[in-house]
Symmetry: C2
Subunit: 249 residues, 2 copies
């Protein structure tokens, strides 16, 4: 069944007019008609079964019929990525949504040569990926900031998995598994992925000196930024995140 | 430094004519000239420093000067993927090269609607990714076969990590970690990723009944085929593969 993120409040009986893009998608692309059902979520009210009540050339209206799943919230995990080429940033945002990151923070570093991106476009990609992956919220995409600004405003208590491609950091699984990290379950975390050219030596020194940073290595081969981001998100979810049901060994 | 995969034998002093594509890349795109150095590997003779000895309009010639790294071979890991949309198959091949798979086997299943692909194009993608990631071989890309043919010709002793999206399989990390799998280090493995529509119920029954198959789950969200492939390769390398130096805890 089609799943849509819609910004409106979802409550039984409410009738909602969808925006032009979603209306066109439902009526013209998917050829849905009055009476057809779909699923909707807004990041606050859980997932609802909604039914199409009107289709005009300009807009589709739906009515929320019944709640399907209560709202849940995934782990408090930020993905911090240096601005890389547009296509790779888009892949990273799509995968961050599939892999359950709560936020994507874009940073510029000494070796990034871009300082802006289309956050609205990245948000649209995050929404589409959230719709397809089945999550009940959409990861927030934040405007790019300089690495030193990000560090300067670091939230107390958030741990930082620093993916350090320079090679002498311990294997990532060691940085994520008990006993060193076993107590961290439920705590806020962030994963940091550098630009294709890597962090500069002075950036690496700064990052390694942060008391909340855990430098880790992602194996013996050079990974592109999107591969590194997916790999680190996966290992975090599989060890500390929601890939292991609570109470499982 | 530029790294190239070249099919020729690499030995000191040998002079080698590069193919037209690589010649154009070096001379026209990268504007290298006689005397410039690059790195070369062929999957057999390790990595060599080679020097350009001639640049004509038609071809670049190089001479192998000195070995840089001896040939090594990564873990014996196959990635088996159902044929999905072209762009996603290409991503999967690129990532399989970065993540150290030795082979990519393409399969058709009940729910794949394609039965052919451009293996030559996928091989070119694998070569480029191998050049960039620093490995000393190129993953082999095999022609698509039907799932039952693949199973019928299964190599004795190769274990199969069956990524089963149906949801009741144990978490992947459980399927990969000691004590259940600790003795498997160095053994041949394969990872199986289904098509976007999943395996059919009868395919799942067949796969789950294979004595060498370990069904595992990739978390609570629906992953696209490329994300699932990257996630499974990452977890395999981090637990049983070459991401943890031998002898490390």
């Amino acid at each position: 069944m089609i799943r849509l993120f819609i910004p409106h409040d979802l409550a039984a009986g409410g009738e909602l007019a969808l925006d032009p893009g979603q209306s066109r998608y439902l009526a013209t692309v998917m050829r849905l008609a009055v009476g057809d059902e779909l699923l909707a979520f807004n990041g606050r009210d859980g997932e609802w079964r909604v039914r199409i009540t009107a289709v005009t050339r300009r807009a589709v209206a739906v009515r929320a019929e019944a709640p399907v799943r209560p709202q849940t919230v995934g782990p408090d995990l930020d993905l911090i990525v240096a601005l890389v080429k547009r296509g790779r940033v888009e892949t990273i945002v799509e995968k961050a949504a599939e892999l359950g990151a709560r936020r994507v923070r874009l940073v510029t570093t000494e070796r990034t040569n871009a300082d802006r991106t289309r956050v609205d476009r990245l948000t649209a990609i995050a929404i589409e990926a959230a719709e397809q992956t089945g999550r009940l919220d959409v990861p927030e995409i934040l405007d790019p900031v300089k690495l030193e600004v990000l560090i300067g405003g670091w939230e107390p208590g958030r741990q930082l998995l620093f993916c350090d491609e320079a090679g002498d950091a311990p294997p990532i699984l060691q940085g994520l598994t008990p006993p060193s990290r076993g107590e961290g379950e439920g705590e806020p975390w962030a994963i940091l992925i550098g630009p294709e050219g890597g962090f500069s030596p002075s950036e690496r020194r700064t990052l390694r000196a942060l008391p909340y940073a855990i430098p880790v290595s992602l194996g013996p081969r050079i990974l592109r930024a999107d591969t590194a981001a997916i790999a680190a998100l996966t290992l975090w979810q599989a060890t500390l995140g929601d890939w292991t049901p609570k109470g499982a060994p």
